[in-house]
Subunit: 198 residues, 2 copies
DNA sequence: GCGTTCTCCTAACAGTGTTAGTTAGCCGCT
DNA sequence: AGCGGCTAACTAACACTGTTAGGAGAACGC
């Protein structure tokens, strides 16, 4: 229903009507509309895959980020709600826990693990919000001339392909940067403890 | 007013009352509430700085991303609205144009420029949404034991410091990755045109 | 003085999430 | 069989929301 009519298209009365019931009856099962959305959000996140860390932290992050993004892309209208309260939901916490574990096992110090988990989420949520969630401009001719550098670029934007490509570019660039950092961090950590093992 | 009471705390009647007027009078100046928010959003984005590209694409992106994030952090409650319609607002388009120009001048092909601009926005918007916009959990003891890897990490989350550090980590890792890519892209481009200059 | 214009007003519409209080039916127990 | 209690649905209402239609009063130029 949200997928069809948008987040505002779902009202308690409409949902109740869809179920052949009046609005007040829903409150026997749900305390509040927010709880309903939270439950929906948790369902959406159930498909996210954090199992990739067995094959190393990099593939772990990659698999997580991609499946996370896909889960959001499957229900674009729910993204604004999903994005604004990341903690608190059990599924989200399970994933955060798994990611944190996978990263520390790979040698990342806990603080880095926290930051990397957050950073990756930034990328996914940002991509979800600004791509398929919000619509891009439809009246194209307006900009031509006014924004010289955009005159062709914006034509591409908003299309599924460049959205995904942008996300993939961001992800690999980010992971490339992390790989360099990982070498440094692991080296300096072993310097401190083992005075130069390998 | 939004900063104080949240996005839902602003209603036309309340705003009017604050101005010593009744709600209907506002519609002599504004067509709709959405227009009001759009104007506010544009004001917030006015402080974003895209002038750094004179010192190279990397500093350009850095300055842009940081000032962008700070502009959003200054009005956290407006972020959900700001995030869900990135195109269409004049300020946002001006910035996109400046960024695109700065990147192409630095040798990035137009398609890459578009993707990099989008990617950076992902990072900023994602950081804004999941950090200061949404609140983290407050009842901490609940998780301890249930999510073994998080038991200490989550204590840090939601605090300003780690939010900014995570963002900075993401940004530098992303830019490091881009630097490598830039070398590749520029080389392969000159291979094609000049058969090996520089 | 008159007409125009501008600003604000009241009243209302259609909709929202949510709560109180009530009724109908079913289940198990005596 | 009849009664108590539970469940799930109901109606009605409250306090809101964004928004529009139509009217009242003041200020302006002619």
């Amino acid at each position: 229903m949200i997928d069809r009519d948008g987040l505002d298209g779902l009202s308690m009365r409409r949902l109740a009507a869809d179920l052949g019931v009046r609005a007040a009856s829903l409150y026997g099962y749900l305390a509040t509309k927010d709880e309903l959305l939270t439950d929906l959000a948790d369902d959406v996140l159930a498909g996210v895959d954090t199992s990739g860390f067995d094959a190393g932290w990099r593939t772990g992050l990659t698999v997580w980020a991609r499946s996370y993004r896909e889960a959001l892309a499957a229900h674009p209208n729910l993204v604004p709600f999903l994005a604004h309260s990341p903690g608190r939901r059990p599924q989200a916490l399970m994933h955060a826990d798994a990611v944190h574990g996978g990263l520390t096992r790979a040698g990342w110090p806990p603080r880095y693990a926290t930051m990397i988990g957050a950073s990756t989420k930034y990328l996914v949520v940002g991509a979800a919000m600004t791509s398929f969630s919000g619509g891009f401009a439809d009246d194209v001719e307006v900009y031509v001339g006014r924004y010289p550098n955009l005159s062709q670029a914006h034509l591409l934007a908003g299309h599924e392909e460049i959205d995904r490509d942008s996300f993939e570019l961001a992800l690999t660039a980010f992971l490339d940067g992390l790989s360099r950092l990982h070498a440094q961090v692991v080296r300096s950590a072993s310097d401190q403890t083992g005075k130069g093992s390998s």
